[in-house]
């Protein structure tokens, strides 16, 4: 703002010169914008809209996402500029004008064949590195058996009495310890479901007859929301679950609680509650009752 006033106070330059000053300032502003954005973000790579994730492997995925996004932004930006340049620069000047009938330029064509191949192999290499991390099966501290059914979940811990079940908006909440490798075995008893934890950048399908397995390692404690992502019938939209990440000692205490009579009773009551008529637990739905079961 101060600069503007200083320009105004100087003797008026000729008209052409003035517009040039304005233009260059506009250009400077244009260039400054992304630079400023970079500095403002603390010289870190932007998230491009994704979550950073709450697991080690999810963070690798997140960094891969950033890498892909930068590549896509550069390639897409350049291509878009080329398109817009062609559109602006080569507008028809007159109805009868016929341009030079160029049809081939082999070096150029080879260039835009080979460069994308190199980029693709670069992206593939990065993909393989992250993929190996995400699909790795380190020795787990805890194993969780996940059963998906229409339209709910049950989570059990082999070797313990812990059992969490619930359907639709009951959003059953199971617990896992932070900082430890948790192994999941995902299965379905009826149709295909999707196990999706958005804050973990992760999803897998639950397919009848196939045990879908993976291991991850949660970082921060807290409660996280998950839901079914693969269409599984009528109440697919509200097939929720939650995961609570706790410290390992809290987790031990939580599992031990199921060995007490009260804990076992509570689990039994929850299992019973999850079997009641679906219509009775989703009274606020905007829809008519579909008479499930």
């Amino acid at each position: 703002m101060t600069k503007v006033s200083s320009v105004d106070s100087t003797p008026q330059p000729p008209k052409g010169a003035k517009s040039r000053v304005r233009l260059s300032r506009r250009v400077r502003g244009f260039l400054a914008l992304p630079v400023a954005a970079l500095i403002l973000s603390g010289c870190t790579v932007p998230s491009f809209g994704a979550y950073e994730s709450n697991t080690e492997t999810g963070r690798s995925t997140y960094h891969l996402w950033q890498g892909f996004s930068i590549a896509a932004a550069i390639i897409g930006g350049l291509t878009l500029l080329l398109i817009l340049w062609a559109v602006v620069r080569y507008r028809r000047k007159s109805v009868d004008a016929i341009p030079k009938q160029t049809q081939y330029h082999l070096p150029l064509e080879w260039f835009y064949t080979i460069v994308p191949i190199l980029i693709v192999f670069g992206l593939f290499a990065a993909t393989v590195v992250v993929e190996n991390k995400v699909t790795a099966e380190p020795k787990p501290a805890v194993t969780v058996d996940v059963q998906a059914v229409q339209w709910g979940w049950s989570f059990s811990y082999p070797g313990t009495n812990a059992l969490i079940t619930g359907q639709t908006t009951q959003a059953p909440m199971f617990e896992i310890p932070a900082g430890e490798n948790v192994h999941f075995v995902l299965n379905s008893t009826d149709v295909v479901h999707g196990f999706y934890l958005r804050d973990f950048n992760f999803s897998r399908l639950a397919i009848p007859g196939i045990a879908n397995q993976w291991t991850f390692n949660a970082i921060n404690t807290g409660e996280f929301f998950g839901q079914c992502t693969e269409l599984c019938g009528l109440y697919h939209s509200i097939m929720y679950f939650r995961v609570k990440v706790v410290t390992p000692s809290e987790f031990k205490a939580w599992v031990a609680k199921f060995n007490t009579p009260e804990g076992a009773r509570a689990a039994e009551a929850a299992a019973l509650a999850s079997k009641q008529q679906l219509s009775s637990i989703i009274p606020t739905r905007p829809t008519t009752n579909h008479g499930v079961n």
Partner: protein
């Protein structure tokens, strides 16, 4: 009642003695029912598939209205499942596919290669009747007691089995796909045979327009992919009604087999849809830049490469099943970006140093290029298994393929503005056309961009409501506004057709285009040509009209004799 297929002879030779007068046959409804003329069949395909676009679009608008509130009350869960299933099914099976390889292809391909008709005219007519009855079959589902099919357009087993989807709507869905599937297979046979056997003398394969090239490859892909779907559907039907257990765990079957079979058809199908629209765009950009297609041979090579790779990418839809070979499908899918990129740069190269005429058709083609660029780039993410793990079945995927298919809609509309005058003899109004373009273009971007963000924020697809995340309302509203703009644009198209009806006579070659269809009259006579120019390049009409402006030789930018 017998027609003789005959090549038109060289221009200048009168062939009146051979009886090239207008065809005499039945008229009115009977003419339509009994026609074997590829032009009338192509018109029927065009009209039917555009009606299906409007039907599928209406479903989309209902979906978008429902999603404008976290607790949408327009439809209930069951109706919502029916809506998006039928939206997807109508758009993919009844609009995009038939429009791609049945409508403009049927009309244009024989004329572009100087043929009097398709190779098997009666089979061609059968294709159309199967397509029409398939469309009716699918929509009949709404009138059955259980409603239309409601297991998603992919019909994943075991949700689509008799226990989980007992209604007649599901069986009608299977029946419709059998009918349209056979229709597609017959069209594929017809396209390949026509292009292999009915080209005019001098029309070598490497002198065919890119549109025809792409339809040849589409025809081959149809023959590779569609039988797999048909087989899969018959097995699904057997599971539902004859007690087999092909997709049922209970009897020793494998549910994931359906996903493999479906996508073994489904991903080549994406290219079956896309390649004809790529071809339309190529033709339009070349004509309205007044230049030959840049990198013609590279373009053909890219098309063939896409076809070859497309058979090895199906399981990138199955990454999250944990049952597929991740690196193989990842690299194959990533590699498809290369030929697609070649096409993208060839389109830019065609415009480069051209004299671009911004007609509605050209605007639509540009809309295609830009929207497809976005859809293509976001597709690259999904080829990477770890990224697919977090974007799978979220709105990111929905946004990705809606960018792609909206791009195809642009190309299709461009094709209608470009070839419409050839089909009817009358131009469409350019002012209405341009308003339609801008509405649809802004609408398409407004539709998809919020979806990308919603997907990254974790909104799964096929959700009737999202009470848990009311903060998604704003993005969903934006997306809905985009959908409404597209809807208004489509209405404008209908308005344009009514308004321009017999208003602007087109003449034979309104765009100064180069391929053979612009050499004959608009609409072309029975058996298409009274005379043909000498065919010495992929632009015989251009060479005839501008004998001193031939395309420059391979590898040369030599200016000699070109000014």
């Amino acid at each position: 009642m017998t027609d003789v297929l005959e090549h038109a002879a060289a221009e200048g030779h009168s062939h009146d003695e051979h009886g090239h007068d207008e065809h005499h046959g039945p008229s009115g409804l009977l003419k339509w029912l009994t026609t074997t003329d590829h032009k009338i069949i192509g018109m029927s395909y065009t009209i039917t598939s555009v009606i299906m676009l409007v039907v599928g679009g209406a479903f989309a608008e209902l979906i978008r209205i429902q999603l404008m509130s976290p607790n949408g009350t327009l439809v209930n869960y069951a109706q919502y499942n029916e809506l998006f299933t039928m939206h997807g099914s109508v758009m993919i099976y009844l609009f995009a596919g038939p429009f791609a390889f049945g409508a403009l292809a049927n009309f244009v391909v024989p004329i572009q290669i100087g043929a009097p008709d398709m190779a098997f005219p009666r089979l061609n007519a059968l294709s159309y009747w199967l397509y029409l009855s398939g469309s009716i079959t699918m929509l009949l589902g709404f009138f059955t007691a259980g409603g239309a099919a409601n297991f998603g357009w992919v019909g994943y087993a075991p949700l689509s089995n008799a226990a989980n989807s007992p209604g007649a709507g599901a069986d009608l869905w299977i029946g419709a796909l059998l009918l349209t599937g056979f229709s597609a297979i017959f069209t594929g046979v017809n396209l390949v045979a026509t292009i292999f056997y009915l080209r005019a003398p001098g029309m070598t394969l490497f002198r065919m327009p890119i549109f025809t090239w792409n339809l040849l490859v589409t025809g081959i892909l149809i023959l590779l992919a569609f039988p797999v779907l048909t087989a899969g559907l018959i097995m699904l039907f057997a599971d539902r009604h004859f007690g087999t257990h092909i997709y049922e765990v209970a009897g020793g079957g494998v549910p994931v087999l359906w996903q493999n079979i479906f996508w073994f058809w489904g991903h080549p199908e994406v290219y079956i849809l896309a390649l004809p629209f790529f071809g339309m765009t190529t033709e339009i950009i070349s004509v309205f830049s007044k230049k030959p297609v840049f990198g013609y041979k590279g373009m053909v090579f890219a098309t063939l490469t896409i076809a070859a790779l497309s058979l090895g990418v199906w399981a990138h839809h199955l990454f999250t099943t944990g049952t597929v070979l991740l690196p193989f499908f990842s690299i194959m899918s990533l590699l498809i970006a290369v030929p697609t990129g070649i096409k993208m740069f060839n389109w830019i190269g065609t415009m480069w140093q051209g004299e671009i005429w911004f007609s509605t058709a050209m605007l639509m083609a540009l809309g295609f290029v830009i929207t497809f660029l976005i859809g293509g780039l976001t597709g690259i993410y999904l080829a990477s298994p770890p990224l697919d793990f977090f974007a799978h079945d979220t709105y990111f995927v929905v946004a990705h393929f809606h960018s792609v298919v909206m791009a195809l809609v642009f190309a299709g509309l461009g094709g209608l503005y470009y070839w419409g005058p050839k089909m009817t003899g009358y131009l469409l109004d350019e002012r209405i056309g341009k308003s339609q373009f801008w509405l649809t273009f802004i609408g398409a971007q407004l539709l998809t961009f919020p979806m990308y963000i919603l997907g990254l924020k974790g909104m799964p697809r096929r959700m009737a409501n999202y009470p848990h995340d009311p903060q998604w309302k704003f993005m969903n509203d934006l997306s809905s506004v985009g959908a409404f703009l597209i809807g208004i644009g489509t209405l404008l198209f209908v308005v344009n057709i009514v308004y321009s009806w017999k208003r602007y006579p087109a003449g034979d070659n309104p765009w100064d285009a180069g391929t053979l269809e612009w050499f004959t009259s608009s609409p072309p006579p029975h058996h298409n040509f009274y005379r043909l120019p000498q065919i010495r390049s992929e632009r015989p009409t251009w060479d005839y009209n501008h004998p001193d402006k031939k395309a420059l030789a391979h590898g040369h930018a030599a200016p000699e004799g070109n000014h």
